[in-house]
Amino acid sequence: MVSPPVRGLDARLVVASGNGFTLDIDLAIRSGHTVALLGPNGAGKTTAVQALAGLRSLDAGRIELHGRVLDDPAGNVFVPAADRHIGVVFQDYILFPHLNVAENVSFGLRSAGVGASEAVAAARSWLDRLDIAELAERRPGDLSGGQAQRVALARALITEPAMLLLDEPLAALDVTTRARLRRTLADHLEAYEGPRLLITHDPTEAYLLADEIHLIEDGAITQVGTAEDIRLRPRTRYAADLAGSNLVTGTASAGVVESAGHRLRVGDTTIHGPVLATIHPRAISLHRNEPEGSPRNTWRTSVDRIEHYGDRVRIQTGPPMPLTAEVTPNAVDALGLHEQSSIWVSIKATEIDVTAG
């Protein structure tokens, strides 16, 4: 009796590059889940994509996808990219410039030996699914960033890959397109049943698209958790900076974001519907008594936790809206802060960034 193979990705990636940089990370992704590999430029994210896709071999470690070993230097196994069946949406999309959109999308099926007319018909149905049917005859050079992204997604998904890799899928887009396409991307990710890995340097993207975030810094995973875990308990300076930003999901209407019954006044009065509000910890002021002055959000709460990070102190506040504030050690002394002490929070409306969620 053979036990059913594990559905998903189970990998340890070790890749040493010539200049002393080594990538060494563990990665496990269940089917139907999205993991974000979030890190700064040069952290080794693209190397990880290449190793998983089979575009470069591991120096040590092992890649196993749905129970099939794809790379195992110790066992002398290396399955080349063409035989891995892993769909990749590349950074900058890398659409073939000499082929039109339909030919780009049908490329994978043609490679698998599907006949031309059948492959093009399948490509058209995928384009239709992504609402870009009218682009079939265009060349990639004539597409907008958003259109190119959808073509790249269709090209990767048409072969029903065993896993989906997205390398900075939104980085090439301008800010407004990015917010819109993030939502459609979320829908399409949801519809894909295999394990999905999202590579990004944008925390918002990771928070909105991934079930679990792996922070990668200098070739190593420094923290794994949900957006909430990382925000509340950042383990490194980078994580603190990233997570630094308080993220509040809610519904916007006429300059007010309502989140779990709590109302925040925000600077942007034009945005409506589901939003993600971002508040930088240094934008949050703490006071002993009720502050007065310009219109701002103020409420009374308590200090849940105090954490020292060198010359900075992070203060975790309690209900009704738990937030992380960052102050200097002097301010902690001046305010006489300790855990459980009562405190007033104030945030200027204009210090709250709101993006469509």
């Binding site: 290449q50 575009l55 990219a81 063409a82 990749v88 890398i94 000499h98 994978g108």
Partner: protein, 266 residues
């Protein structure tokens, strides 16, 4: 809002004079040739036996040299562009050598290597009976020797500039190496490949020194257009001029075909 750029400084007169002289070096010979063309006798001259044989042989051998260059020069360019190995710069130097080597020396080298008593030619003759010197095959080989470097350097440059991620993307889509090569790599470098082939063909068509040294000058077997021009100059100037005009027209045709690539994109 700004009009055409106005030149605020004129170049010194001396520069203009020297530039005009430079241009004259190219233009005067052409004018001299065209001035002597016996236009009324041209059809009759071009219809002659010697001309017909030379034209046929030149087309055959230059196209054969181009096809051979494509078959072995493109893989060579690929190896130079994509592989790292010891002695690579030496290999590249050897590939480029025919560009600077006097063709006569190339022809002599071919003769020593592939002549009947040459280090390769001897065994080749013993085993297969093939004799390259003073044969049409020898013309093709001489033309390939001098012309193929144009294809190799053009294609190598294009392959180096090609973003390898396109080939990687094709591989992740399940494309075999051959499919990647024929559906992605070669189509993407097609403009350079075409330019390289055109240059190679033009160089093969004009080849003289290595050909006459290695293959001789036998009408209908090894006497190509340039050789026929050289012979005709001795005893039949009008035919020589007609042949020369023919080659000028062909060369201009190649240049016009490459104009977008070579003239304008600067």
């Amino acid at each position: 809002m700004t009009g055409p750029v106005r030149r605020t400084t004129r170049p010194p007169a001396l520069v203009l004079v020297l530039a005009a002289l430079g241009l004259a070096v190219f233009v005067v010979p052409l004018l001299g040739l065209i001035a002597r063309v016996p236009w009324s006798r041209l059809p009759e001259l071009l219809a002659g036996d010697v001309v017909g044989d030379a034209l046929r042989l030149s087309l055959l051998t230059s196209i054969a040299a181009t096809v051979i260059s494509a078959l072995i020069g493109v893989p060579l360019a690929w190896v130079l562009a994509r592989m790292e190995f010891r002695g690579k710069s030496l290999v590249r130097g050897l590939v480029l050598l025919p560009l600077v080597l006097p063709p006569v020396v190339g022809g002599a080298a071919l003769l020593f290597a592939l002549g009947r008593r040459g280090i390769v030619g001897g065994p080749l003759n013993d085993l297969t009976g093939i004799v390259l010197p003073f044969s049409t095959g020898g013309v093709v080989l001489a033309a390939t020797f001098v012309a193929m470097p144009f294809l190799v350097i053009t294609v190598e440059g294009a392959l180096r500039n090609l973003d390898a991620r396109f080939e990687g993307a094709a591989a992740t889509l399940g494309a075999s190496r051959w499919r990647v090569l024929f559906r992605v790599t070669l189509p993407m470098i097609l403009p350079s490949l075409a330019a390289g082939l055109a240059l190679t063909w033009a160089r093969a068509l004009g080849e003289f020194g290595a050909t006459i040294t290695f293959a001789g000058n036998l009408q209908s077997r090894t006497q190509t257009l340039p050789l026929a021009v050289f012979v005709a100059l001795e005893n039949d100037r009008d035919t020589a001029i007609a042949l020369s005009l023919l080659m000028v027209v062909v060369s201009l045709g190649v240049l016009i075909g490459l104009r977008d690539r070579w003239w304008r994109s600067w």
